[in-house]
């Protein structure tokens, strides 16, 4: 995994609440066995006409948002299915962070494991960012992961929460599996002191 600390980029608005992972990446694209190409399919049914051309009225298709890398999305982003294809698709489309007032649990956990930053802000900041993104598509924000700051165009710093372990992994470019693999002795000792509950190979 690549190390992540500072991100800065243009913001784009997607002012819809409860965007579920079926919208982020429709299920028919889950027949893949790798992570390639999902960016093209991100928001597919909102993004493309039946003939494959861009839908003109979908806000993320507007030319002024093509360089954006921080998505400002409605409340409860990423609800529904556990598919990790959702963060893979968003990252494939070029997003580095998503800002919302709340994220669904599994989506948030999946995003943090892939380096897509789920940034939770208060409603007032969210409203401001949404307006800024709608009014001026050249608006840029920066994110400082180490300080846990989202820095607004006027210089104001808004603190965001992130668990210490995910933060450590992202800052150092390490994945969480390495940590678990280091606990082999503890796992073996747990297994030795607990009855096995079920045996699928019996």
């Amino acid at each position: 995994m690549e190390k992540i600390n500072k991100i800065s980029g243009r913001i784009a608005p997607l002012a819809i609440n409860d965007i579920d992972t079926d919208q982020i990446i429709p299920a028919r694209f889950l027949k893949t066995t790798n992570k390639q190409g999902l960016g093209q399919q991100c928001f597919f049914d909102w993004r493309y006409e039946a003939d494959g051309s861009d839908k003109a009225d979908f806000i993320l298709n507007k030319p002024e948002y093509q360089d954006a890398s921080v998505l400002i999305a409605g409340n409860n982003f990423g609800c529904g299915s556990s598919r990790e294809h959702a963060p893979w698709a968003l990252m494939g489309m070029g997003w580095q962070a998503v800002v919302s007032t709340e994220f669904a649990d599994i989506f948030r956990s999946n995003s943090l494991k892939n380096g897509l930053l789920p940034i939770i802000v208060d409603e007032e900041t969210h409203r401001q960012l949404m307006s800024l993104a709608e009014e001026d598509p050249t608006t840029e924000v920066s994110i400082n992961l180490e300080d846990q700051h989202l820095i607004l165009p006027d210089g104001r710093k808004v603190e965001f929460p992130i668990d210490g372990f995910s933060k450590y992994c992202l800052l150092n470019g390490v994945d969480q599996l390495g940590y678990l693999l280091g606990l082999e002795d503890e796992v073996a000792s747990y297994e030795a002191s607990h009855d096995k509950r079920v045996e699928t190979t019996a």
Binding site: L30, S81, F103, L181
Partner: protein
């Protein structure tokens, strides 16, 4: 360490039993996983990770694979094989077979006798038991919580973690008590309870929480009804939902192929009896519902929280409290082709889907069959009946339910996720309306442009007969449940 006298919830007991390393300031808790279920869609990239790092599956004997999501449910050919015509699905299924074979994981392949939807076969085979930790790369893993297990959906990275280490990093969630008091009226079933709960709390209402369903209406449910309820916990934002195990649970588990036998079973029951939440155990929040007042529920919008009593009227976006809510509802009604204040009763539908990990078990099929016995599905309606597993299919056929469905003009299909996820050829055409017993009415969930009303198997069957949305209480059925 916990004070012995502090009352604990069911969730806390199961959590504490499985903590290998407690949560600290710097790190999440490390939880031991008793059972890992895998399917073809969310596992391939995890197996690739294992190969890249030269890792093996730590406990193939605590892992089980089945094919369900991308599999067709069309009839077998004359060799008894279910043909997979979609090349990409076929390649994915082949890869899954190879992955399970290479890593020594037992797997139920398409059409074999125990194959089926992952959340149907776990309980059916007796793998799912009270007090266990169960995970799967699928958000409806919450289903298994009906047995008093802590069961939740995980992402593909986490599938890799569990394959390689049999553990998972987790922050301890909050708890929410969902009390459903009273008794269900005739024609009102488990699905109506959970749709009412989600309508009340919203799709994000349970975020960060584990639900424990309790109260007389939950106690009165069969295991299958409890599974329907726990299944949709995720639609209220909770990763897991649990029901305390009781005699109903023990009786259901007893005798299943992988359940403990004889003295081992008695010993297990003794332990399972210690699991229910202690008197005075504290929950972080609570929601209360009165089952006496419940009538059949239906959704009108594009998330499972947009639900209402079946005789209700579609809400008016202009009357919503915030701009965001107004916009969301406006968008939903536009997609659904519905008007504010419109009644749904009498609304014509094109398809009725009876199936999915929410409502494809034998009792669901029995309920619908009772309604359809001697009746005909309306000419304008395509009704699909998709059993949750090959075992459910076999049982239904032994009881003659398939004949009832076929005589009524419904399609009797092979087991799988089918039109719940529409990645297997079973799907709505753009603009079509469906009453579906599945769990998600998201835009395009049942096929691009398809419009879904979520409801119970009884409502689905009544609607199929009339060709329009029907309150099942208006159709006479002896002992309707």
């Amino acid at each position: 360490m916990g004070n012995q006298s502090t009352p604990q919830t069911l969730f806390e007991k199961v959590w504490n039993h499985h903590v290998i390393r407690p949560q600290t300031e710097a790190t999440p808790a490390v939880l031991y996983i008793d059972l890992h279920l895998v399917h073809e869609v969310t596992s391939p990239q995890a197996f690739s990770l294992l190969r890249e790092r030269g890792l093996k599956v730590r406990r193939p004997d605590q892992t089980l694979g089945t094919m369900d999501h991308s599999t067709p449910t069309t009839p077998r050919n004359n060799l008894g094989i279910i043909p997979v015509l979609d090349m990409q699905a076929s390649a994915q299924l082949d890869q899954f077979t190879k992955n399970c074979n290479d890593f020594g994981i037992p797997m139920y392949s398409l059409g074999t006798e125990n194959q089926g939807i992952v959340h149907v076969i776990g309980p059916e085979q007796g793998f799912t038991q009270p007090g266990m930790t169960i995970v799967c790369g699928d958000s409806h893993t919450s289903t298994h919580g009906a047995f008093g297990a802590l069961a939740f959906g995980i992402g593909t990275s986490e599938v890799g973690h569990v394959l390689a280490t049999q553990t998972l990093l987790q922050y301890k969630p909050k708890t929410m008590a969902v009390r459903v008091n009273g008794t269900l009226a005739d024609g009102v079933v488990a699905k109506d309870i959970i749709l009412a709960v989600i309508a009340k709390i919203g799709v994000g209402g349970g975020t960060g929480h584990v639900f424990e369903y309790m109260g007389s209406a939950i106690r009165g449910l069969s295991m299958e009804g409890r599974m329907t309820i726990c299944n949709m916990s995720i639609e209220g934002g909770a990763r897991a939902g649990m029901v305390a195990p009781d005699e109903t649970t023990f009786e259901w588990v007893n005798g299943r192929p992988y359940a403990p036998k004889g003295a081992d079973f008695d010993k297990a029951v003794e332990f399972w009896r210690t699991l229910p939440s202690d008197e005075g155990a504290q929950f972080d929040s609570e929601v209360i519902l009165n089952a006496d007042e419940l009538i059949p529920m239906i959704t009108y919008g594009t998330n499972p929280g947009m639900g209402m009593p079946i005789n209700g009227r579609v809400p008016d976006p202009d009357k919503q409290a915030t701009v965001a809510e107004r916009m969301a509802m406006d968008k939903a009604l536009t997609y659904m082709g519905l008007q504010p204040n419109e009644a749904l009763l009498g609304k014509k539908v094109d398809v009725v889907f009876l199936g999915s990990c929410t409502n494809s078990r034998i009792s669901d099929l029995r309920l619908a069959a009772k309604m359809l016995d001697g009746q005909k599905v309306a000419d304008s309606v395509r009704m699909m009946v998709v059993p949750g597993s090959q075992q459910v299919k076999k049982q239904a056929e032994a009881e003659g339910l398939d004949e009832i469905f076929k005589a009524a003009g419904a399609e009797w299909r092979e087991a799988g996720c089918s039109m719940c996820i529409a990645m297997n050829g079973d799907q709505l055409a753009p603009g079509q309306y469906a009453v579906s017993t599945s769990n998600r009415n998201f835009e395009g969930r049942q096929g691009k442009g398809g419009r879904t009303f979520l409801a119970s198997p009884l409502t689905a069957a009544a609607t199929a007969i009339n060709g329009h949305i029907t309150d099942p209480r208006t159709m006479y059925v002896p002992e309707m449940a």
